[in-house]
Amino acid sequence: MSIGQILQQLILGPIELLLDVIYAFALRKTGSIGGSIIILSLAVNLLLLPLYKRADALQKEERDRAARMKPRIDQIREVFTGSERFMILQTYYRQNHYKPYYALKGSVSLLLQIPFFMAAYRFLSGLQVLQEVTFGPIRNLGAPDGILQIGGTAINLLPVLMTAINILSGMLYSRDMPLKSKIQMYGLALVFLVLLYRSPAGLVFYWTLNNLFSLGKNALSRLPHKPVPKIRMPRAITGKLPRINSTQSKWIFRICCVFLALLTGLLIPSEVIKSSPDEFVDPWRPSSPVAYLLSPALLAAGFFLIWCSIYFHLLKEKNRQTFAIISGVAAAAGTINFMAFGNSYGDMSAMLTYERGPSVAAGQWLFNIAVILVVFVLTALLIRKLPGLMRSVYLACCVALAAMSVMNISAIQQNYRSIADAPRKEAPTISLSRSGKNVVVIMLDRAVGGFPPYIFHEKPELLQQFDGFTYYPNTLSFGFHTNVASPALYGGYEYTPDEMNARDDMLLVDKHNEALKVMPVLFLENGYDVTVIDPSLANYKWISDMRIYDDYPDIHGFNAQGYFDENVEDTRQYTDQIRNRNLFCYSIIRISPLLFHAEMYDDGDYNQTDLPRRTRKETDSLVGVNPSFLKNYWVMQNLTAITKVRSSPENCFLMMATEETHDITPLQEPDYTPKLHVDNTAYEADHGIRTAADGSELDIGSATELEQSHYQCNMAAFIQLGRWFDELRKQGIWDNTRIILVSDHSYSLNLLGFDLADRYPEASESSWVNGEPWTITSAYEPLLMVKDFNATGFSTDTAFMTNADTPVLAFGGTVDHPVNPFTGNPIVSDPKYAGELHLMETDWHFVNNDGFTFSDPRFITFRNQDITNPDNWYIEDWEQED
């Protein structure tokens, strides 16, 4: 960022953001692009009315003062010369409490208009949604109006109308003013005419409305004044306590502004990034995610330190106390809102969108409002009773915030250094053998075990492509999240949560890495050519740290996610733009009352007008689609391209993970492909209810978007795999290849499974952890499909399986008596037949859950090897309903 850009973001950024939010909100509520301009103008003018009123009063004050002082100043200028004149004038100014820069006060309203004009100009003149939109006689809000046609020349009528209104308003305003002011007024009107004559009609329309508003205001101000009923402030602000003096008000206000700026500009954004710095790094072009803090910091500084200060300093002395108290309350309530409320909305992506989105029950927001009211009364009373103490308290809070932000930044930077050189920047290759044996394990993160019957019934051609596969619907996983559930998948029953916890002399990350090595190392030791792609959470990093295989140089490890991204530059720009804008918006949401969260969050759009899916006309661009989905989508699209078939007889092993089924996004049906503009209304109307071969139904059409997206992304993966399988057949390596499709866990979808919390009503509060329900059994029902060598036909096997069977399935007939190379124990499936199995829910974030055992575990006990029977699932800690 250059100095100019920094200043721009600092001064104009907050106003532009405000305009954008108001406009997008109006557009969302009214659906009218032109009408929203009217609302925008009205809102901005009403917001600025007190400011302009005060500016006008200041201007009058200044004019009166100038008129009062003029005769003496003339006298002094006439009779004194040189430095004496200067010194006498200085003294005269001093006696009149006048500073020469006060002359600027007369121009405050003009000076205020400049940034607001610039921001409006920048916002509206580039606004894409205005393009090709007709509004009344205006054919295109995105271009000059050209309404009048005279002899082939188009005359723009709107700017002329605007100037007429401007001049009329100026005439009213400057009726009693000296000629100089009048000339200034009309000159300005002409300047705007020249500036805006060729501007898009939308912008001119907006500015015309502003002038109309100002005309109305000036006309009203000429009418005799009626006493305005006073708004009564709460007693905590106005009551009979001692007033805080103006210096104290000023200091409390300033410190609280710094506090709010630090909170929203640094602390909250840095908390977000710190929570997972990897996700803010493009491994293929790494740069420190600390850079993402600049924009929110500037926006916050501009908003709180510049614009709020301007507002404050334009206020009358007596209103400043109120404003200072409000700032104190805002700081206190904002902090409490951030720390105690609104943190249970579930997972959030690095594009700052929640997986589930804020949903606030009436009870929650009412409680929140009650808390805010208490904070309000307490803070206001404390500020009025002990302003000095409160000033110190706020100051201490500022220092604390700054220190926490610095700690966050340093943590982010440290993490960044550790990942910057982690990914292997080599072209991924899958090596398969034509004459030897190939064993392929594809881990589809979070793929849902219950979906395949519906998927195959909806797309019968998949049945052909998946010929040879056996589907295991009665499969269990040992956890709900990758950190706790995937080790068993990769390493077998020695890595179930219970077993992981039992080995409490070893760090979780080391046990996890060990599990990731079990299959590759054992296959390597048995002479296989081994390829590993994107192993889950390797070394507890989002971007798999392939260095865990450094001891085995013959293992070919690749980071494929992101390698095949298309529209890289556009996507990167889009991602940056979203983060630069929305990190601050997210902060503002987090300090706001719960009541407003949903409207402010706006389904993840944060009230942004020009979103790609609103403005991009070309439908093939995917800029704007969830980038982390695309990263995985492109890898799956390229499976064929990266598959190299060898004629040498060497056996091959591939272990690969994809997040395509985890980092979900809505897809366009019936092809299940990513699109900027997804519209499935028609398709869902006809195919909303999916059926399986056995006649069971799944109502995807009326499911939540979250559930729909899971289904769609599972389907997309199956379609892509099907295409790859065709290629394997074409290459003649289908029969000598064993393929295991497995997921570490599934997802808590109400569509499938059942909610154990129903049986334990008094425990329902604890059935949500980190914003997700963990008691829905579908979360523990992973995908498992296996195609063995030379297998034909598609079959379903209801034998009891767990995803910890994966190594046994992989080694069956390929490695005799497989033994875990790290523990020396045989790799077997027997433990699943034990009387009961323990499934664990724990903090899924490995950054916090990184000790020797999983923290704060909750257990589900499973018995009798049949997942479809609700009676087989228990939560032992909870008392069951009779």
Binding site: I76, V79, I88, Y92, E271, E279, V399, M404
Partner: protein, 411 residues
């Protein structure tokens, strides 16, 4: 992949940090307070600072005011009051005086003097120089009280604009001056100053000197022509014609040009001296001290200046004044609607010289010398503008010492 914000640890950390920083700020303030006491409030430090602080400082920009400060220094020394006398002129005669309690120092010239004055530490700074905090001479943060003494027997509004505004006290010699000061304060919304009627030291001094040096006995009438300078002065307006008609009266004539004329109007003076050389009846006078020439003259012809009041009120003799077209605009007088006291009193002290009567100067002089109304006029003027005749030094000293004591009590 999804982000994970753990507000729990955040708020805990926040609470801990607030506690830590709160305690640190509190501790830091305490330490700061102690350090401050140690450095500025500690008994030893305070004693040291007080030792450096002067009790009373007299400051003058010119040795002209010697006739105020000399008697005042004498009085303070007699009373045993320590005073630092600072002058901006190196040849100030007071510098060669020896006192027991008074230190006389040259403050340096120009900006050096201001630099010293602007940072001086004292209970009281007492001065006859106006324009405090308007011109380069600023109020020092370490001075508790600034007092000014009037040095002419007429309007305090004859100071250049804002001349007295930033003094805490003004010592005056006439009730009408108090009214004028209050009028200015009101017009400028300034707080009321302390205004004390003490009289006029330099006129008391002249009076005493005249009592000790009675005028020499001689025949005839001596006329003193002591004009001002500039385009509206007597020389420029009436010139040769004036001198010629004065010589025609047969009186002894002393011409004493304004010191400024000798530099600004050197040509005019040398031309006049050529035309009217010294003779038995005409005498050019350039003495430093005007006492002698005032003492032996019977009537003074002058423009509009302070010396006219010395002549009329101390030497009790009539005057003829020329230019009354006083441009009030650079002065405080322009702030008050009321007519200047000077302009209301001049015609009670003598006659005005106008183009019409300039040729009739002989009869004019005779009239002024004999008319009884001027004697009464002078009496009246003395009552109005010369309070506490002969007591000004005592009263000024009383004021300064009691003010110093009350300031020290406030500490």
């Amino acid at each position: 992949m999804f982000l994970y914000i753990d507000p729990g640890t955040g708020s805990m950390l926040f609470t801990v940090l607030i506690g830590v920083f709160g305690a640190l700020i509190y501790a830091f303030r305490n330490v700061l307070l102690k350090v401050r006491i140690l450095f500025s409030g500690g008994a030893r430090a305070r004693a040291k600072a007080d030792a450096e602080r002067e009790e009373i400082v007299f400051y003058t920009d010119s040795k002209r005011y010697w006739n105020i400060f000399k008697p005042l220094c004498d009085e303070m020394d007699r009373r045993g009051q320590k005073v630092l006398y600072l002058t901006a002129e190196p040849d100030d005669p007071l510098l060669s005086e020896t006192y027991r309690h008074i230190r006389c120092e040259f403050a340096g010239e120009g900006n050096k003097a201001y630099a010293r004055m602007n940072f001086i530490r004292a209970d009281i700074v007492f001065s006859s120089t106006p324009g405090l905090d308007v011109y380069q001479w600023k109020r020092s943060r370490d001075v508790r009280w600034y007092a000014h003494i009037i040095h002419a027997a007429n309007d305090v509004t004859r100071y250049r604009m804002f001349g007295l505004d930033y003094f805490d006290a003004v010592l005056v010699c006439g009730e009408y001056q108090i009214r004028q000061i209050r009028g200015l304060e009101q017009a400028r919304s300034l707080p009321e100053k302390e205004v004390v009627l003490v009289g006029l030291p330099q006129m008391d001094y002249l009076m005493k000197k005249r009592r000790d040096n009675p005028p020499p006995a001689r025949d005839g009438t001596t006329v003193l022509l002591a004009p001002s300078w500039g385009p509206s002065s007597i020389f420029n307006r009436f010139g040769e014609r004036m001198i010629r008609s004065l010589m025609a009266t047969g009186h002894h004539l002393i011409i004493r040009p304004h010191p400024q004329s000798l530099t600004s109007e050197a040509d005019l003076i040398s031309k006049l001296r050529k035309v009217f050389p010294d003779s038995g009846t005409l005498e050019w006078n350039f003495d430093n001290d005007n006492f002698d020439v005032l003492n032996r003259s019977d009537i003074l012809i002058s423009d509009f200046s302070g010396v006219m009041f010395d002549f009329a009120l101390v030497f009790d003799k009539p005057i003829i004044y020329a230019d009354v077209s006083f441009d009030k605009r650079p002065y405080d007088a322009s702030w008050l609607d009321e007519e200047m006291w000077t302009l209301t009193v001049l015609d009670k002290l003598g006659k005005q010289l106008t183009p019409e009567n300039a040729d009739e100067i002989g009869p004019l002089i005779d009239y002024c010398l004999t008319a009884p109304e001027f004697k009464a006029g002078r009496e009246q003027a003395r009552i109005e503008t010369w309070a506490h005749i002969g007591e000004s030094i005592r009263l000024t000293a009383d004021y300064l010492i009691s003010k110093k004591e009350s300031l020290q009590d406030q500490k």
